[in-house]
């Protein structure tokens, strides 16, 4: 990337990234925009903790607090955690299976731009009359009663970005099914690829119900339908069902890739094969499967009746079994290994107690009668932050350190990385552990203030103090990124020294065609096998050196996504009786469908990299391919 930048200047680099269909560049786009949204969501989190640091605080007004709280949740789930994970999936998964790109490079780019425009659209609500204020769950009765356009920004923004995620999910599934290198059987796939596979399957089946629920919301608010309008026969519980049929698998869409990242880390930094690989794979599949059977445990207090509550309680408890299997397999991977506490491993080691704590409170909430007390209290806030921060965010930070050299060719500072870890880890437990007790002491969630007479002052103050440590940790991480980029010390193929899978057998960053020759995979941890057998090249090849077919860059994904972005503005202002709204909807859809038609009618056959260029490349002469 940097050599290219020096050659062609800043504008050309930007254009290259915008039009790129290369999974590694799209990964960087995901990482940058996901990182940006993570910072925005983090600032919102800090505002929440400032408001709640003492009883009766007036830092935020009641309405503003609800907007900040809603946007914190929505941003962190949809615009930070998921895209960051999609970024790592994009960067690493094709390398792990020995593929030159994903199955649909064009759709990969489209997926990113849909997510990006959806996220921007959602965040524009801050400047255009107010952000959504009905919580990230956006329960229908409150959402319909909300007067500002915030809810419409939520609904339309998530529709656009949801399409992007769905496209990415299909893309990864097809990539893993069809594009594995010879010898890369399903049971030789690295765990991160496996979790990407299962998470993508969950995306495929979980996002449509959300899209439908949001469509109903859009139609109800903007076009006069009555899905959730109780007076006209509607029913708001439909929203809750559809939302959680999506919402629960969504949790696994986030946590499974995190499990995958940690599985890679435990093996690499214990210098040991994953203990019980088969069990880990089947546990992943089981967790994904059960993820669709348990949504109503979010609705124990809705009044579904004791039979439904009991069934969903039992189904939920069962998930603890495969999850426990994973924890013990990781522990046994460390056991008997040679453990190096580099920064990624530090995160992985910190993850185990954090996630176990989040897991056991999850089982406690699966007990329906107990959940009547815990539901919608600060206990649940503590629980899901333990699994999402203690699981997903720690995984994202760990992966940032682990894969930074592979993505950018330079190592993040270990020293600063460890400082970040300790600040963040201590701050995280300080912030959220105490919240379990706040919940048990009767504090409901989503309250913008609390009285001095409720007995919650001290614990809230402690929680807010913890958040400061987390913020400091993130700031030092940013400093680390900047310093590392400025220093730009290049690293080799396997900077951690103990890489086991294919991505560590190729240069950092890899050439844009990834593998000059498709590798032949001889077993699980194929690079480790070659290393142990003294193969200096790290791979054996399934084909002789020959021409490589690559896809062309395209600007159309940006145009398609932009069209939906435009149309959404028309839809958003439709109920305000403005004359331009219908034309704007039509214009936006014309842009989108027009560019789809263009894509369909124009042959895009890609180009070939010639054998001679590959040889030159291998000898260290840079070619660009364009």
């Amino acid at each position: 990337m940097s050599s290219n930048a020096q050659k062609s200047g800043f504008g050309a680099t930007v254009w290259d990234y915008i039009t790129s269909v290369d999974h590694k560049k799209i990964a960087i786009l995901y990482l940058m925009s996901g990182g940006l949204f993570f910072l925005i969501g983090g600032i919102e989190a800090m505002m929440i903790r400032i408001q709640l640091m003492k009883a009766g605080n007036d830092f935020l007004s009641a309405g503003t607090y609800n907007e900040v709280m809603t946007m914190h949740g929505t941003t962190m789930i949809f615009l930070a955690a998921m895209p960051l994970l999609l970024g790592f999936m994009n960067a690493i998964m094709p390398l792990q299976i020995g593929a030159r790109d994903v199955a649909f490079p064009f759709l990969n780019s489209l997926g990113f731009w849909l997510f990006f425009f959806g996220g921007i659209f959602l965040n524009l609500s801050w400047f255009l009359g107010g952000a959504p204020d009905a919580g990230w769950t956006n329960y229908a009765s409150l959402a319909l009663a909300s007067e500002s356009h915030g809810i419409d920004f939520y609904a339309l923004g998530l529709t656009i970005s949801g399409f992007g995620t769905l496209i990415s999910g299909i893309n990864f599934l097809v990539t893993i099914i069809n594009m594995r290198a010879p010898g890369m059987t399903y049971m030789r796939m690295p765990l991160f690829t496996w979790t990407t596979f299962v998470a993508s399957a969950l995306i495929l089946l979980a996002f449509p119900p959300l899209t439908i629920a949001i469509f109903f919301m859009v139609f109800d608010r903007l076009f006069g339908s009555h899905f959730f309008d109780v007076a006209a026969g509607g029913n708001t519980i439909i929203w809750e069902h559809l939302f959680w049929i999506f919402g629960h698998p969504e949790v696994y869409i986030l946590i499974l890739p995190a499990f995958g990242i940690f599985s890679e880390i435990f093996a690499i930094f214990s210098r040991k094969r994953l203990f019980g690989y088969t069990a880990l794979v089947f546990a992943t599949i089981l967790i994904g499967f059960y993820g669709f059977m348990v949504w109503a445990h979010h609705m124990f207090t809705v009044g579904l009746g004791p039979t439904a509550n009991a069934i969903f309680a039992l189904a939920t408890m069962i998930i603890a079994v495969p999850t426990g299997v994973k924890i013990f397999n990781w522990l046994l991977t460390i056991w008997g290994g040679s453990v190096s506490f580099a920064t990624p491993m530090l995160y992985a080691v910190g993850f185990i107690p954090s996630f176990v704590a989040g897991g056991v409170t999850g089982v406690m909430q699966a007990m329906a009668p107990l959940d009547y007390q815990l539901h919608d209290s600060y206990f649940i806030v503590a629980h899901f932050h333990y699994v999402i921060v203690g699981g997903v965010v720690l995984a994202i930070f760990a992966a940032t350190h682990l894969y930074w050299p592979k993505m950018f060719g330079t190592m993040l500072s270990e020293k600063l990385g460890k400082v970040t870890f300790w600040l963040f880890f201590i701050g995280f437990h300080l912030t959220f552990f105490i919240q379990h007790f706040l919940g048990l002491m009767g504090m409901p969630r989503r309250v913008y203030t609390f009285g001095a007479d409720q007995g919650w002052d001290l614990f809230n103050a402690i929680s807010s103090a913890g958040a400061v440590f987390m913020a400091l940790g993130v700031i030092i991480m940013l400093v680390n990124v900047v310093l590392t980029t400025v220093k730009n010390e290049r690293v080799g193929n396997d900077p951690w020294g103990d890489g086991r899978t294919l991505e560590w057998a190729i240069p950092s960053p890899p050439p844009f065609y990834n593998f000059a020759q498709t590798p032949l995979v001889r077993g699980l941890d194929t690079y480790w096998i070659e290393k142990m057998e003294g193969n200096k090249e790290g791979m054996i090849y399934a084909e002789p050196l020959g021409d490589i077919h690559m896809p062309n860059n395209s600007f159309l994904p940006v145009v398609m996504s932009f069209g939906l972005f435009v149309a959404s503005f028309g839809a958003l202002y439709h109920p305000d009786d403005l004359p331009w709204t219908i034309p704007v909807i039509v214009l936006g859809l014309l842009i989108t469908f027009g560019s789809m038609l263009l894509r369909s009618l124009k042959d895009d056959l890609g180009f070939h990299i010639h054998k001679e260029d590959l040889i030159k490349d291998r000898e260290g002469v840079k070619t660009d391919g364009h």
């Binding site: 009765s141 009663a145 004791p306 040679s338 453990v339 107990l370 959940d371 409720q454 001290l458 614990f459």
Partner: protein, 361 residues
């Protein structure tokens, strides 16, 4: 059996002690200091599950600490290549089977309690004289306040639920606008107030609220319902059956006009300024019904559920309700007073009148 029960009690006591040391919150609102049968059952489940989970955590911690201390590379040397173990079927079986056993341990009481807490068979049972054996209260959640109707007794109150101790009280919970959730933490877990259907459940109240420091239990709305969700509090007064009967009788009587002159002026103003259009002042609720019933206003523990109960706060509230509960439905004085705020004299009179509304003397 007796022995087991004793041990169980001892365990409860020990665990309770631990929680006390960690900070248990206020007895008016903490789930950790249960004051009702339902909350007690749920607290016992909490203790049981905490014990099971503690066991899990201890096992994991032991393996974890041993693993990360024994196998450090700094101890083993940089060159050491560990044996590449594939796994162990025996171990896999072990850590599948043990969690299943643990889950069965907590699943049995879970299922039992789920059905027990939903058991409403005694709800509509009539005694020999035709009265109901159990009290039923219809709870209607409205934007930032709660209405409590006692259908058999024919009385309505708001913001303060009054219930007898030591018997099941059934609740029919519904919302008049957006979704809310009805929660009295120290008495028992919550149930949602949905706009489309009525949910029914029961609670029992084991302690008289007069023993509490603040004299009432605190109730909460637990489902985000708008800007003032955090302020949608209510209070619960519990009293023995005899006192409760007296209270019901007092509620059923027509209120008498106040004797105090200022309060009489206030009563007139209450009609003139059309307050009465929304707020009923008699327990049988013959007028109003849009806003909270004020028949027990003088007995209340708080103004608007959140402010300390004194005339000053009451006047401030009437003058500018939005300042205290953003988004609530109570109109600003200017909307019913020809665009003017109320004068200090008018406020004094209204406050005196409202404070005189009482059924407990």
């Amino acid at each position: 059996m007796i022995n087991g029960l004793k041990k169980w009690r001892l365990f409860t006591l020990m665990a309770a002690l631990i929680f006390f040391l960690a900070g248990c919150g206020r007895e008016e609102i903490s789930t950790l200091i249960p004051a009702g049968g339902v909350a007690q059952d749920q607290f016992n489940l909490l203790l049981l599950s905490s014990a099971v989970m503690l066991f899990v955590i201890i096992v994991v911690t032991i393996v974890y600490v041993l693993a990360i201390t024994k196998f450090r590379r700094s101890k083993l040397g940089d060159e050491m290549i560990p044996e590449q173990v594939e796994g162990s079927a025996k171990l896999e079986f072990l850590w599948t089977a043990i969690p299943i056993v643990l889950i069965i341990i907590i699943a049995i009481p879970t299922v039992y309690q789920t059905f027990d807490l939903a058991d409403t068979r005694t709800m509509d049972v009539e005694a020999e004289d035709g009265s109901m054996t159990n009290l039923t209260v219809n709870v209607v959640a409205k934007l930032y306040w709660w209405e409590f109707e006692y259908p058999e007794q024919g009385i309505v109150t708001a913001q303060e639920l009054v219930v007898p101790t030591d018997q099941r009280v059934y609740f029919n919970v519904v919302s008049a606008d957006v979704k809310h959730s009805f929660w009295i933490p120290s008495i028992g877990g919550k149930i949602d107030a949905n706009p489309e259907n009525t949910n029914t459940f029961y609670l029992t109240f084991d302690q008289e609220s007069s023993e509490l420091e603040d004299g009432v239990f605190y109730g909460k709305c637990a489902e985000l319902c708008g800007p003032s969700h955090a302020l949608m509090d209510f209070k619960v007064k519990t009293m023995n059956a005899e006192d409760f009967e007296q209270w019901v009788t007092a509620m059923q009587e027509e209120p008498t006009s106040p004797s105090d002159e200022l309060a009489q002026t206030g009563e007139q103003l209450f009609t003139e300024k059309t307050c009465i259009g929304c707020h009923a002042t008699s327990g049988v609720g013959t007028t109003g019904g849009v806003g909270p019933n004020l028949a027990t206003f003088g007995d209340r523990n708080r103004v608007a559920g959140i402010l300390e109960h004194n005339e000053e706060n009451l006047k401030a509230w009437i003058q500018d309700p939005q300042q205290f509960k953003p988004g609530n439905q109570m109109p600003d004085p200017s909307s019913y007073n020809n665009g003017e705020p109320l004068t200090e004299q008018e406020l004094d009179a209204l406050a005196a009148y409202l404070m005189s509304l009482s059924v407990e003397q």
